[in-house]
């Protein structure tokens, strides 16, 4: 078990090798969260990168009261939320980025297939869902985080979380019903 507080202390002195350890340990977790929210590999990669860059610039503000995982989740969620809101405004741009998904080529076909499958499901069932509902649904039902943790990450109250979750589940259930009818 690594002592991340020690690693953070080293990062604060400008030790980039220490930060590399954090990136290597958490990049997969952050990428997984981002792709589950965004439903797009390219967007998820961008958000993962931006999350770590923001973490580096704000490393002095990190307090050991919350875990490093939660802190990074919070940064990533904020990035996803902003991006989702931006995408909602520029739907045309989102369509372009979707088309990039199919142009991408990777050596590991299995990995690419699973990423694509996940993106397809996420896009199919959560497309057009309001950003906060999407966050609540992903963090609670898919990531399996506790309500307290989600409130800490997203900055919303328990009541707001409950209502967002209720509408998100209703949204997906409606989509499932529509699929059945078709």
């Amino acid at each position: 078990m690594k002592d991340y507080n020690l690693i953070i202390e080293r990062c604060r002195t400008g030790d980039k090798d220490a930060f590399r350890t954090i990136v290597n340990d958490f990049r997969q977790v952050i990428f997984r969260l981002a792709i589950r929210i965004m439903g797009n590999t390219t967007e998820a990669e961008d958000i993962t990168q931006e999350t770590f860059i923001s973490a580096w610039t704000a490393i002095s503000s990190y307090s050991s009261r919350s875990s490093l995982n939660t802190w990074l989740y919070r940064i990533a969620c904020n990035k996803c939320y902003d991006r989702l809101r931006q995408m909602k405004k520029e739907t045309a741009r989102a369509e372009i980025s979707e088309s990039i998904e199919y142009i991408q080529c990777d050596n590991n076909i299995e990995e690419e297939m699973s990423n694509k499958e996940l993106c397809r499901i996420i896009s199919e069932y959560t497309k057009d869902m309001p950003p906060m509902q999407k966050l609540a649904f992903t963090l609670k039902d898919i990531e399996g985080l506790s309500s307290d943790e989600i409130c800490r990450i997203t900055g919303i109250t328990t009541i707001q979380l409950k209502s967002n979750l209720y509408f998100a589940r209703k949204f997906i259930r409606n989509r499932l019903l529509k699929d059945k009818k078709l």
């Binding site: 930060f19 590399r20 770590f52 610039t57 990777d106 898919i142």
Partner: protein, 127 residues
């Protein structure tokens, strides 16, 4: 409803079962590291520069507002001297056109008179 719940749970477990992976993990780490290389955390001078920028910006705004106020004030004063005829002055002779303000303006323009003695000379002229 229960059937719908089953479908929902199936979907969730299907999403959970797929473990996405970064296409090029090492490449991403390198990109992040090269991006943060240009960011220097120990740049404490940044704060001072920021404060200097804020203060100089405020000073520039202040100077600009003083200048604007000065120009505007001059215009207001000029307008007052050129256009206003105090009501207290009793002009005995009426000008030929009947428009006192226009006559007054013409008089000032023709005689190229400054502000202070305008009214006196004007009254003297038409007495």
């Amino acid at each position: 409803m229960n059937r719908n719940n089953d479908e929902y749970n199936k979907l969730i477990s299907r999403i959970r079962s797929i473990n996405p992976s970064i296409p090029d993990g090492e490449g991403m780490t390198n990109k992040i590291m090269s991006s943060i290389n240009s960011i220097d955390l120990n740049k404490k001078g940044n704060k001072y520069i920021l404060w200097i920028r804020i203060i100089s910006g405020m000073a520039a705004c202040l100077v600009a507002s003083v200048m604007i106020a000065g120009i505007y004030g001059d215009n207001v004063r000029n307008d007052y001297y050129h256009n206003m005829i105090p009501e207290t002055i009793n002009i005995k002779t009426e000008c030929s056109t009947g428009n006192m303000l226009e006559t007054y303006r013409c008089f000032i323009r023709e005689n190229n008179i400054g502000h202070a003695d305008n009214m006196k000379r004007y009254i003297e002229h038409y007495k």
